[in-house]
């Protein structure tokens, strides 16, 4: 879609010719297309997420008429297959052979951690469009890595404080048993206990669990006033359905990270998802002009409703566009590009968004409740939240 036009090619040729006679009059980068390397899962379990991120990004570029600060845009897609090894090879190819100006990606935290050094050592800006790996804005932070999505801490810790404020004192924890899941529980526990709350216990079903019944029995017997959980994808569907089938729904209120009820799983959960409260940085029903316009434009262009992931892709595109406008299209001076990104303030569909010192989004974290099959914002758990800069020396 974004290829060099013939006229652009002729212009580039004449500039190159002119450049050889009169050096340093017209900067070399102005004639070359802006190259964006999408390092996303286009196959395997997260294929749908990768596709939506790419669509959101392309929408942001299309709104600029396909050129950014006078440069045409070339998008190169690289499939990570959600496999860190494949992703490293792909990222290396994009950085070394294709010499992309930006990497945009990945969905999985493991992939993000794997390609961190490719971007950092290759001095190529990486815009993280989903992976919530806390380290990326802490110990593994880099002058070249910015995140437009969230950190795991941002979508789990605020709920601890918020639930305590609602008068909840004793909470049972549940999560799929893998690093991401247990980490979310840890962040929540810390903030909930700091506020004065008590953890009744935790259950950790396997990531491929098909039988949640034994864990639900433990939750029933825990004497907790509420449950905080982290499940995503089909685990979110199965946990929520079985929670309801065993009669816990309505008796012990269910809280969680936003991914428990995002639009990829909520239709499959049906009635069982009603009343579940989660924390997240976006909701389809957010009432602001940017969100309305974005949702309409996305629907018109792709014929489907955008999800959270499309918003993250869209904002990644917006961030790149705004930064290039500041540098007047210059992507050669990496320090200047970082300064431009540092200065960005986006009117995102999610609300105001900027980058913090450790390059995470500064954003509001909402409390959502499923009402009539829709996530409705019932409160703001944290205003302009920044991830703690632990171990990040930027």
């Amino acid at each position: 879609m974004f290829t060099i036009s013939r006229r652009g090619f002729l212009a580039a040729g004449s500039v190159a010719a002119a450049g050889s006679i009169i050096p340093n009059v017209y900067p070399a980068w102005a004639a070359t297309p802006l190259k964006l390397g999408l390092i996303l899962p286009f196959s395997s379990v997260y294929a749908k997420l990768g596709e939506e991120i790419a669509q959101g990004l392309e929408l942001a570029l299309a709104e600029e008429g396909g050129t950014v600060a006078g440069r045409s845009v070339e998008v190169i897609k690289q499939d990570t297959e959600v496999n860190p090894k494949t992703a490293i090879q792909g990222a290396n190819r994009l950085v070394k052979q294709e010499a992309v100006d930006f990497l945009v990606g990945p969905v999985s935290s493991a992939v993000a951690a794997a390609i961190r050094n490719v971007a950092h050592n290759g001095r190529t800006h990486l815009i993280v469009a989903n992976a919530g790996h806390d380290g990326l804005s802490q110990g593994l932070c880099s002058p070249f890595i910015y995140r437009t999505s969230f950190s795991n801490w941002q979508v789990s810790a605020p709920m601890g404080t918020w639930m305590y404020k609602q008068g909840i004192r004793r909470v049972m924890l549940a999560a799929s048993n893998y690093a991401g899941g247990t980490l979310m529980l840890k962040h929540f526990s810390e903030s909930f206990q700091e506020a004065g709350g008590e953890i009744a216990g935790e259950v950790l079903p396997d990531l491929k669990e098909i039988q949640y019944a034994p864990f639900l029995e433990q939750i029933r017997n825990s004497g907790a006033e509420a449950v905080f959980c982290f499940f995503a994808g089909n685990a979110a569907v199965e946990f929520v359905k079985q929670y309801s089938q065993f009669g816990l729904h309505g008796n012990i209120p269910l809280y969680g990270c936003g991914f428990l009820t995002t639009s990829d799983v909520r239709p499959a959960q049906g009635e069982a998802s009603e009343g579940i409260r989660t924390t997240l940085h976006y909701a389809e029903t957010l009432d602001n002009p940017q969100n309305t316009a974005f949702r309409q434009a996305f629907q018109d262009r792709y014929g489907s409703a955008p999800s959270l992931y499309a918003v993250q892709g869209y904002d990644s595109g917006r961030a790149i566009v705004e930064a290039l406008k500041t540098t007047d299209g210059n992507t050669e001076d990496k320090e200047a590009l970082s300064r431009a990104l540092d200065g960005i303030a986006l009117d995102s569909p999610r609300g105001r968004m900027a980058f913090s010192r450790n390059h995470d989004p500064v954003q509001d974290i909402y409390v959502l409740e499923v009402q009539n099959g829709q996530n409705v914002v019932i409160d703001t758990a944290a205003k302009s939240l920044t991830t703690p800069t632990t171990d990040c020396t930027l």
């Binding site: 098909i210 039988q211 029995e217 359905k241 089938q245 009635e271």
Partner: protein, 293 residues
């Protein structure tokens, strides 16, 4: 103390329910391995396909019972066709060839499901008539549908047992498990027996997928989650043994359920330890024929 006992009873029910689901799935896996000597890793794909066809029927507003029957009819046709074209010729191949080919079938099946229904997670609601709870005493209720899973498992088990014990074809099947070559030499049409066993086993796998669908969710690759425990059931119970598949299913379901409650840190290991211990004592499985070769 009462509280504890009630809770223990509920966990036992949970164990039975999981065990019966494994049982329905594993019968076919075990018989196909026993009679045809084929390791069918794609067994889970038919489980997935059963669930998706049932889903498609419900989406088309076909009544649930008819949707189940239509899905099973389609599976019968598909299983017969795939037996004749693919699985029959696998009988004389090495286990490595069988594993490679049926693994390839898993990939193809998942891709086809993705192409037709997309990667989106889908789900089926429990039919209204079966969605309630029943009292099990001590002020406790248990989901009706879950109890029905066990009842259906028992009915299926008894039916298969009657088939194998009292019909001519059942006797030929058991003979085939015991010694395929000798059975063939005695004039039994081994091709027919293998076709029937394969079709029957696959239909049961698809039926397990249909029964599980309202409890679980539908997505490309859902078959692999049940395949691993089912393979354990087959090895533990002994190849081609119905009694073995039954006892091993309930044992695996129970150990997995109870293990998760009492030893959460070891819950994924406990079942393997139990299986390893049993196989050490009885390498042919609980009810397998003594290996003489």
């Amino acid at each position: 103390m009462d509280e504890f006992l009630v809770s223990a009873c509920v966990q036992v029910l949970n164990g039975f329910q999981l065990g019966f689901l494994y049982f329905m799935f594993a019968i076919g896996l075990s018989l196909i391995l026993g009679v045809m000597g084929v390791v069918n890793l794609a067994h889970g794909s038919f489980y997935m396909l059963g669930a998706y066809l049932f889903y498609a029927g419900l989406q088309a507003r076909i009544p649930p019972i008819l949707s189940v029957l239509a899905a099973l009819a389609a599976i019968v046709a598909l299983s017969m066709a795939s037996e004749k074209t693919i699985f029959r010729s696998l009988r004389d191949r090495s286990h490595l060839d069988q594993v490679l080919l049926t693994y390839g079938l898993i990939l193809i099946a998942n891709e086809v499901i993705t192409m037709v229904w997309g990667p989106t997670i889908r789900s089926i609601d429990i039919p209204d008539a079966l969605s309630g709870s029943v009292s099990i005493g001590f002020d406790r209720e248990y989901p009706l549908y879950r109890l029905l899973v066990s009842v259906v498992g028992i009915v299926v088990g008894i039916s298969v047992w009657l088939l194998l014990s009292f019909t001519r074809i059942g006797i030929q099947v058991r003979a085939g498990v015991f010694d395929r070559e000798m059975t063939s030499a005695l004039g039994v049409d081994v091709n027919l027996v293998s076709l029937l066993v394969f079709g029957f086993g696959i239909v049961l796998a698809a039926f397990a997928g249909i029964v599980a669908a309202p409890i679980l969710s539908l997505y490309p690759g859902m078959g692999e989650t049940i395949l691993i425990p089912a393979i354990m059931v087959v090895i533990l119970g002994g190849l081609g043994s119905l009694k073995g598949a039954f006892v091993a299913s309930i044992l695996v379901g129970m150990v997995e359920t109870i293990g998760r409650v009492t030893l959460p840190e070891l819950s994924n290991v406990v079942i393997y330890l139990v299986v390893a211990a049993i196989l050490y004592l009885r390498p042919e499985g609980l009810f397998g024929a003594r290996i003489s070769k």
